[in-house]
Amino acid sequence: MSGFRTLLYKEVLRFWKVSFQTVAAPVLTTLLYLLVFAHALAGHVQAFAGVTYLQFLIPGLAMMAMLQNSFANSSSSLIQSKITGNIVFILLPPFSAGEIFAAYLLASMVRGLVVGTGVFAATVWLIPLPVGNPAWIAAFAIVGCGMLGTMGIIAGVWSEKFDQLAAFQNFLVMPLTFLAGVFYSMHSLPPFWQAVSKLNPFFYAIDGFRYGFFGQSDVSPWASLAFASAAFGALSLLTLHLIRRGYKLRH
């Protein structure tokens, strides 16, 4: 019997044991974003017809929290294990590269989805949202969290110190999330920045996710799903390759 289940369980237990920090805090942060941006921008931005700015904002902020927390889970688990040295307890058992990859990825997705659920659970009482198509919501939640969970593994494997991980997070993940249309519709941008946005895989995760609620989006949800899935697939292949080679793990 394989140890995959235990590794997944351990990775979930790891964040669950500190859930104030890993679940409650990001939910609260998201609510604060909602409060502040809603107050500042509510009168100025009309993104979709028939949708208030507050409503428009919620799926975007929820997805942003999901993406960031999926990334944080795998990356922080790996860098902590590497720096404290307890990564040996993962490297000595008979795990295949695929098992290590899948366990870290799925645990990241679980955290992302738990945080996302928390955001909706906290806001649904105040600002009800339409749920146009739950299948699209689920699909983009899964692909978005998966994409960032994989990026988290890459960052965790590559980083040798917290500073490098912080660089990855602040200079790559944060700009990509903030410029992915969380706070605005892409159509409000000048043509050049619209084109740039279309290179950002995070944009498709957020745009498609929103489509699941409102039935409206900047690009077709099928195109979004294709782009986001392609990014997820490519990142997964790269991650698997790195783990199989033992890149920065097995010297």
């Binding site: 369980y9 500190v18 307890f89 000595l92 795990f95 097995r250």
Partner: protein, 309 residues
Amino acid sequence: MSDAAGGLAVEARDVHKRYGAVPALCGVSLEVGKGEFFGLLGPNGAGKTTLISALGGLVRADRGSLAIMGHDVQRDFRLARRAVGIVPQEIVFDPFFTVRETLEIQSGYFGLRRNGAWIDELLERLALQSKAGANMRSLSGGMKRRVMVAQALVHRPPVIVLDEPTAGVDVELRQTLWAFVRGLNAAGHTIVLTTHYLEEAQQLCSRIAMMKDGRIVALGSTASLLAEFSERVLRVKLEKGGLPAPLAAGAALEATGWWRIPIADVAHVEDALRTMREAGAAVASLEVAEPELEEVFVKIMRREEAAAR
């Protein structure tokens, strides 16, 4: 001991490893038979930990092959890793979990779901029962070390590798640990041990390899290494008179004023004393020093240094 086909617990064939430009292993070949208590000795930086890491798959050899219980550590990594339990040299732990959780999780990594009885036994034999529910962070260094030993044993591996398990550990724990490891060896487990405490190695290990600069520089049974490189010595301090010429020929004078006179066996002590008495030398104190692994170690390391010059 190690010639029967399939009778090997550990087999290293011409293993090479470099870290960048720095060579760590330069063609190490080694066989450890099943059931042996094997010592791997050498100064810091000799390559012992690299060799052990390569056995556990933590390090990939550039060239050569390694096998545990006949399973190649790269090709048959699943079987090889099931067959070995490694206690790393550095104290490491996961601060998120208690002692029992740590051991249950480690069991699960090997696919063992209901391992409670064995975990209880390990906790008892390593004197950790009272700490089973304590968080790893709250444990002393010695206790963390014992948990690491338990972690390496959760899957009952036939081969157990201990990389300096007693470094910085108090005497009582050291004795508990050795009694436990001896018991495992008596039950048929193969033990590979590295230590800087050569007395321990001499008492425990039936065979020894000495490493220096990534090479094996001596390999043999503990008894044969002692016989070849160390000797029984009669140490005497004289009250008056000099050491008679027949004895002085082979003897050495220590800085403390003690003479060291090599003797083949204890019966020769009487002969030496008679020679001194007849020559009028009066003995103030005397002792017989048995052969020591430390002397073997020092001689071999000096020989290697001289050869390298």
